[in-house]
Amino acid sequence: MNSPSSSLPDSFGSQAITPPTSSATRPFYWSVRRELWEYRSIYIAPLAAAGVAMFGFLISLISLPRTVQAMAALDPAQQHKALAHPYDMVAGLIMMAAFIVSIFYSLDALYGERRDRSILFWKSLPVSDLTTVLAKASIPMVILQLLSFAIAAATLWIMLLLSSAVVLGSGGSVAAYWGRLSLFRMLLMLLYHLVTVHMLWYAPLYAWLILVSAWARRTPFLWAVLPPFAIAIFEKIAFRSSHFTALLQYRIGVRQAVGSMQDNFPIQPGMPLAAGRFLSSPGLWTGLIVAAIFIAAAVRLRHYREPI
């Protein structure tokens, strides 16, 4: 597809994937690719976060042998906590970068193309509004999260290898280090967290931002933030209650999201239980239904909206 001169500095990871041939998925595939071309921060931001985190970790490696030695006195759970701490920090930083990109991407998704009038070009091609909006929604809801998982997993592996080298060099036991750290379980928890919280639980949040980006004529950020804020204040004044605020906290707060995942963290067998509880919680499904409604409204709006 790409001829030799169309070099690939921009086409991140795309050469490995063969484009689908079926006519139904082709427009979707290419719509996603054009988002990756336009919003390069989708992969640059998590990569940059990984780079910064890695640099900090490299400096911290100096004190690693001492930490390992000092830990002999602690019990296994505490040992794991101490060793895993830098890994958690790095994974957290990458996820945070991806989350921030998700927010700003969603706010611009259907606004930017109207502002620069390129919507006229996109609409001059046989791609439906539904395909376009779904492709755009898939960026924060699926692609960014999987991408940040892949980047985090790669970064954590490199960290593990570097640490092992340092531990080995200082005469420690690599096997013990790996055993106490249990990276595989950490990655599993990370993936679980990304899928449950960042994909499923936050889906209505991204969908709301995409809806606002399809609707707003200017300052989508204000339109996304001020109305919920206004409703909360109104409720407080009129009814002296704060159900709406509680609702927002319930949705945006992570703790409620996965039924206090932290509690289940050290115990492997607890995980399927937590997952089952999460998947059967009405909060998840109402959220997904609301997300679907927002996305459907965004599709409708893209049909009607003209360049601004």
């Binding site: 597809m1 001829s3 921009d10 054009r34 071309w37 006229l120 091609l125």
Partner: protein, 301 residues
């Protein structure tokens, strides 16, 4: 689908209001296959609104059928057979040339990539350039290369050559006629640069305030309108023939006659008054839209 039975565009009573302004006020339109229709009108006349309705970019009242489809509800299917160039700002500025080629090749089943590359090879456009780095003329060349490589049945051009120098403009219409247009395709174009399209069009339409003021084929146009540079001593006699418009150029009167509203006029008779020729579209436009607007509208209907 040859012959002229099947209209490419058919509109009846097309209306569109923006608040109190009627952008389209009951437009009836029929464009047949193999025609090149020029829609000419002052700013705000409703040209772009009409094109947007045809392309499914705006809602409307009334009946509209493009290639057998309702553009508003079936835009994505329609766009397999319809191409569109609006004024040059439309190609996304962040995109690189190869990305535009990849994308259109990816989503458009009728795009012939080799053909587009062939057109681009004749230009100075580099494939690694971003669109924002290209000159205005180059962006139009790129868009035209993309569009001409699509085997579409209807091409809609909305001010395609706005802001381009005369060389690019000439080249634009030359490639369109030589490398693209044939009797199975149809082109609708709006432009203010009417002198560029006078010899390109097969049909002409004037539109003002959302209404069609004039609608004729170029053959009709040539037989119907006469422009006479009248000799000074003949001016009174010429005015007696009720010209639709009169203007003064370098001290000489140039009179424009509409033979439809004045059956008595024939070429020999007018030739006695001075030098006769077919008017330019621009001069007819001024005559129709200008001072004697009321009479001209009466004459056109």
């Amino acid at each position: 689908m040859t012959g002229q039975a099947m209209p490419v565009i058919e509109a009846r009573g097309l209306r569109k209001a923006f608040g109190a302004t009627m952008a389209l006020d009951g437009v009836d339109l029929r464009v047949e296959e193999g025609h090149i229709l020029g829609i000419i009108g002052p700013n705000g006349a409703g040209k772009t609104t009409a094109l947007n309705a045809i392309l499914g970019l705006t809602s409307y009242q009334g009946q509209l059928n493009v290639l057998g489809r309702d553009p508003w509800t079936q835009r994505d299917q329609l766009m397999r057979d319809v191409c569109f160039i609006a004024d040059v700002a439309v190609l996304p500025r962040w995109m690189r040339v190869w990305q535009a080629l990849d994308y259109v090749a990816g989503v458009h089943p009728r795009f012939d990539r080799a053909r587009a590359e062939g057109f681009l090879a004749k230009t100075d456009i580099r494939r690694a350039s971003r669109i924002r780095e290209l000159s205005k003329g180059m962006v139009t060349q790129l868009h035209l290369a993309l569009v001409m490589a699509i085997d579409a049945r209807l091409l809609v051009l909305d001010e395609p050559t706005l802001g381009l120098d005369i060389l690019y403009r000439k080249q634009f219409y030359d490639s369109l006629l030589n490398d693209y247009f044939d009797r199975s395709r149809t082109i609708v174009v709006t432009t203010h640069q009417v002198e560029d399209v006078q010899h390109v069009l097969t049909d002409l339409m004037f539109i003002n305030r959302g209404r069609i003021v004039l609608n004729c084929s170029m053959e009709e146009f040539e037989s119907r309108y006469l422009e006479v540079t009248v000799r000074p001593e003949q001016v009174t006699a010429a005015r007696a023939l009720k010209p639709m418009h009169e203007r003064q150029v370098l001290g000489r009167s140039i009179l424009l006659f509409d033979r439809d509203s004045n059956q008595k006029i024939d070429r020999q008779q007018v030739a006695a008054l001075g030098e006769v020729r077919t008017p330019s579209i621009a001069d007819l436009f001024v005559a129709v839209m200008g001072g004697s607007f009321g009479t001209a509208q009466g004459a056109a209907q």
